[in-house]
């Protein structure tokens, strides 16, 4: 799996946020649109696209989009 591809899939989950503003270094939980619904969208995207089920506790320890990518990668 590739970082830029992951960032684009992640950014596509948002409706209001401009995808161009989301980068590898974005601290995603600080985004205004981030909420509990976004967590569900993320968990289902990761299952559909990468075929893995995340551990919510572990995932919540990630800060940036790159951290998140590394975490998902580690599950595969």
């Amino acid at each position: 799996m590739e970082l830029n591809d992951f960032i684009s899939k992640f950014a596509n989950l948002f409706e209001e946020t401009d995808p161009a503003t989301i980068t590898a270094d974005t601290v995603y939980s600080q985004l205004e649109e981030w909420d509990s619904v976004m967590v569900l969208l993320l968990v289902s995207m990761v299952d559909e696209e990468y075929g893995v089920i995340v551990d919510v506790e572990e995932m919540s320890e990630t800060e940036t989009v790159k951290d998140l990518f590394e975490y998902v990668k580690s599950l595969r």
Binding site: E15, V39, V43, I53
Partner: protein, 333 residues
């Protein structure tokens, strides 16, 4: 070998209705729109102040006796599934035996389960019938979990509704109750819980905080870690379906209708796609009632029957608070 069947069903929804517009008045429009779009719910029914889950169960049972013409004197066991009991003691089923004017030479007790509770109730009812302990079991489900919600909890306020249902499980009827698969994992207890008020934490805690996602967390109210529950269903439901099929010597293609606990539209769509079940074989009934805990499966069955969709092999799967899960197949005439 004796067999057990579902004979009659009915349900009751409380009169008060809360629409998405009503919720928008309290919370910001955008947030509510986003949640309601994802969960697929437009309105939910709520109990009136002072109206309890057992008041609803009483009405559901009376609806059943009126609609079916079944003689309440023939009921020889009552099982009530609720997590909103009238009292710490006695068992609410005992109170209902009296209020419903049922015979006194019958058994009655509560089962304290939520989303999986209806399927457990069918399992118990079948056990009572096959064990020769009863002939006509009145299985009731009733929950008004909305009374446990924090007023600021926009997610759960949007999701949940109140309801009660009544089912007669009997030695004869049109839907044979086939074999069950049951499961439990208490390690997930803290992810869907009302902590204070019972024995472990008797005093109110007044400990409201907000989590990273802006949802209220309070020991005095219902707490649901939606992401954890979602991950739990991702892991457990596909396996449950597989195990129920194996237990009943069936293939997935043999199932004419899947009726899952109606948690929310997002989760149901996700599970349906993951399992590869076509839409016309998958029941969704949420829009006008919301997630009604132990009541969603029987309500969906009743509504599917009105549309003539309940025939052949029907799989029921309940999963959630506990964690607890259960599945069964109905063989419908």
């Amino acid at each position: 070998m004796k067999k057990a069947y579902i004979k009659h069903m009915a349900y009751y929804l409380p009169e008060r209705i809360m629409t998405n517009d009503d919720i928008v008045k309290v919370f910001s429009e955008k947030a509510v729109e986003k949640i309601s779009e994802n969960v697929g719910i437009k309105q939910r029914h709520l109990t009136a102040p002072g109206e309890t889950a057992s008041d609803m169960a009483l009405k559901a049972a009376n609806n059943l006796f009126e609609e079916s013409g079944f003689d309440r004197g023939a009921i020889d066991f009552v099982v009530l599934c609720t997590q909103c009991a009238d009292y710490f003691m006695p068992s609410t089923a005992c109170v209902l035996q009296n209020r419903l004017g049922l015979r006194k030479d019958i058994g009655a007790f509560d089962i304290d389960l939520g989303c999986s509770g209806y399927v457990y109730g069918l399992a118990i009812a079948k056990g009572l019938i096959l064990g020769g302990l009863a002939t006509n079991v009145l299985l009731l489900t009733a929950d008004n979990v909305t009374r446990y919600l924090h007023p600021q909890d926009k997610g759960n306020q949007t999701l949940f509704g109140d309801a009660a249902t009544a089912t007669i499980v009997s030695t004869e009827g049109s839907a044979e109750i086939m074999d069950f698969v049951l499961g439990t994992d208490g390690a997930g207890a803290n992810n869907l819980i009302v902590k204070s008020g019972a024995s472990r934490m008797p005093e109110r805690q007044n400990d409201l905080t907000f989590d990273k996602n802006g949802s209220p967390v309070s020991s005095d109210h219902m707490y649901m870690n939606g992401a954890q529950i979602f991950v739990f269903t991702q892991r457990i439901v596909p396996k449950l379906v597989k195990d129920v099929l194996a237990k009943n010597n069936l293939n997935q293609e043999d199932i004419d209708l899947f009726v899952f606990h109606q948690a929310n539209r997002f989760m149901l769509d996700f599970l349906r796609k993951k399992l590869g079940v076509p839409e016309d074989r998958f029941c969704i009934y949420l829009e006008n009632v919301g997630n009604t805990a132990s009541n969603t499966i029987p309500i969906s069955l009743i509504e599917a029957k009105k549309e003539n969709r309940v025939k052949g092999k029907v799989m029921l799967c309940g999963f959630g608070v506990g964690y607890s899960w259960a599945g069964v197949v109905l063989n419908v005439e």
